[in-house]
């Protein structure tokens, strides 16, 4: 797997590169700003790009803008946005439009080699990745009339994995059950929450996230 790392803080960038190389992933370029990132993506066709949400010049949403641009112009390139923000709003900004091959991961996860590599693999496979912490927070939100109370603990578990972007296969592996069982759970959850069927695993992430945020 060939990836490009876009991160303006050298210390962090080096750490990421080190973790990736440890895991046997080839880092074809390290860049520190969106311009260089887009150049590398268009000329060297990496498999995926790891993008820091805050980059020069304004250190606001450059990472999000660059991620969207890559999704528009190079749909084959997976994008994983690294962020220090827990706000689901940022994740939505990144995923909206092109949820497939896109991920939003909290920065502190990146040095956990297993998590990072897993996220990259999932993005490469066309899945969507949403940081579990964000999903947990959304699920734990206080509501006046909580529709989630209608779900069984198992269904809640499935729901959170759907929100993290896992495919049925991924969920089945994670929960050590058959894919068919997962399918049944998902159908049940969608039915109970009044959500629209299963429009493909990455689209349903958005549906679930939107539901949880509403």
């Amino acid at each position: 797997m060939r990836v490009v790392v876009a991160e303006d803080v050298m210390l962090t960038r080096e750490g990421i590169v080190h973790v990736l190389e440890e895991a046997g992933i080839e880092v074809i370029a390290e860049v520190a700003d969106p311009g260089a990132l887009l150049r590398v993506v268009s000329t060297r066709q990496p498999d995926a790009a790891l993008i820091d949400i805050r980059m020069p010049p304004t250190h606001t949403d450059e990472g999000i803008v660059a991620a969207r641009q890559i999704r528009e112009t190079e749909p084959e390139v997976g994008v994983l946005v690294l962020s220090q923000f827990l706000d689901s709003g940022y994740a939505m900004e990144v995923l909206e439009g092109h949820p497939e091959r896109t991920g939003y991961l909290l920065k502190e996860r990146i040095f956990d080699g297993a998590v990072l590599v897993d996220a990259l693999n999932r993005v490469m496979e066309g899945e969507t990745v949403v940081d579990p912490t964000i999903v947990t927070r959304l699920l734990g939100r206080r509501r006046l009339e909580d529709p989630l109370e209608r779900l069984t603990p198992r269904e809640r578990e499935v729901l959170s994995l759907v929100a993290e972007g896992l495919s049925n296969k991924g969920i089945a592996e994670r929960l050590v059950v058959t894919e068919r069982t997962v399918e049944a759970h998902v159908t049940q959850v969608f039915l109970k929450l009044g959500l629209d069927g299963s429009p493909g695993s990455h689209r349903r992430v958005l549906a679930v996230l939107a539901f949880l945020r509403a």
């Binding site: 803080v9 210390l11 923000f85 040095f111 927070r137 006046l144």
Partner: protein
Amino acid sequence: MMPETETVGIERFHRLRLVPPGLLTLIGIAFLYWVARGADNSVESTFVAQSTWTLATAQAAGGALLLVGLGGAITRPDRMIGLLTTGLALAWLAPEVAGWSGAPLWVRHTALPLGTMFTPLLVVIGLLYPLGKARARSDRRLVKASYLFGAAMTMAVGLLYQPFLDLDCWRICSPNPLVLFDNPDVSRSVIDLSLWMAIALSSSFLWLALNRRLARSQHQVKAPWYVIGPIGFLALAEIVHASLLLPGLQFPVDPFAQRFMTLFIIRAGLLIAVGFGIAWDLIRDLRIRWSLAGLASDLEEGASGSLASILAQALNDDTVEVAYWIPRLQRHVDANGRTVVPSPEPGRAVTMIESSGTLLGLVMHSSKLAATDLEREIGSAARLAVDNERLRAELLAQANEIRESQGRIVSATDATRRALERDLHDGAQQSLLALSYKLRIARTEARRAGSEDSAAQIEKATEETLATIEAVRKVAHGIFPSILVDAGLIRALESLRERSAIPVDISLPDKRFSELTEMAVYQLIADAIEATTSGVVDGVSVSGTESDGWLTFEVTHPNLRVGYALTHAVDRIGALEGSVVFTEAGLRAEIPCE
């Protein structure tokens, strides 16, 4: 009690000043009567006896000028125009009076030289109209010259002209009882001189007037065309008339030749036009003054709001603007305390309103209101009200100033907090991330070395580091919600809801507003939610709409009250000219959002 004594003084002064125009008008009425009589029986010596046209126009011109003169003297005793117009009427009628054979000789011999004053008076009116003040030094000089030469030539004609010895005499040929010495050459020279004077004064006036029109100096009270135009043509007619009467052209002159008849009627017609022009201005001036008379009480009642709107109504001029000079702020403001920059435009005049030497304000209005001296018309009582409005404007300006500075402070605080938040993320948090990374490497190495205890401890340290990262994130978010700037109000409020301990229902227009507006709204809603949280389970509902550039929203919760916790947020809304009211249900806020 200064203003009162001042008013009384002016009134007494006015009454005294009505005596001369009154007397002159009586003489004028007598002149009109004599001219009418002359038309009956002085075919040889008066124009009015020649035709009904000459009689009608001569009488109409004289009558109109007398009326306007008296009107001017009564309504505008402070200006010379009324008296001068009456004088012009007398000078116009005088030659015809002199020509009436039925009048007493002393009357005829007094009337004849009076006619010499016609051109000088015409020129003076042309120069002093409408305010009774000369506008330029050259004007003042010509006014002086007109008075001087006019008076001198009138005396000369009265004391040196002996019609008895004048072969060309026609109006009156009887001996002048006042004449100092009988000499035909002197007599003839006096008449010629008076004609030359008329030519000289008329030409000088025309030259000045044309130059002024061409130069088109702005922002000055200008004489209106409908008065200055006829006066100009009259001056031209005087030149033609005097030239025709000068010797050497055609001698002896037939006074009733067609060209003289025509010229007489033209002059009379132009005089009527002058009379109408002045009357028009007088009526307009009166109307404005009547409207302005109620200014003081209108202002005190605060009737239609501001001086500007009352003036606009009184002057029938929608473009009226009033600017108050605020010395402390070193700028002009309008009645609402907003900064205005008085920029003179073509066709606009500026009137300064002063009170005992201090500039109260500027009134910018159409320069067509030439005949009314606004500065004078805004009387002492109104001036007090104007000063009140100025003080009010000053207070409002200061309030605006404070609000603006409040806004600047808020912006500066925001910028600082944002920088702080960024420092935390890019500094502390990145260092902690790097630390967690090093700890992971250390743990891996400890494991590799078989030191499970160390590995466990390092693992614990890693977890603590991650917890610290989480803590730093919370602090950073509290200092400044980045998502507000990055993704907008709605997204930021959604995040707020994700973190909130109580259910929050949000329904606001999903669009971006200015950063300051979004900050203010966010802060108020965040603080309101924070304030309601303690020990309550009820949800908070936030709903709002945007219309006409205003975002109106309500935060509903039973516990929401006026409280210290919201002061800062309410101030922020206020700094943007918005407002917050606390209601039974919670609070309602309005804020401009364009």
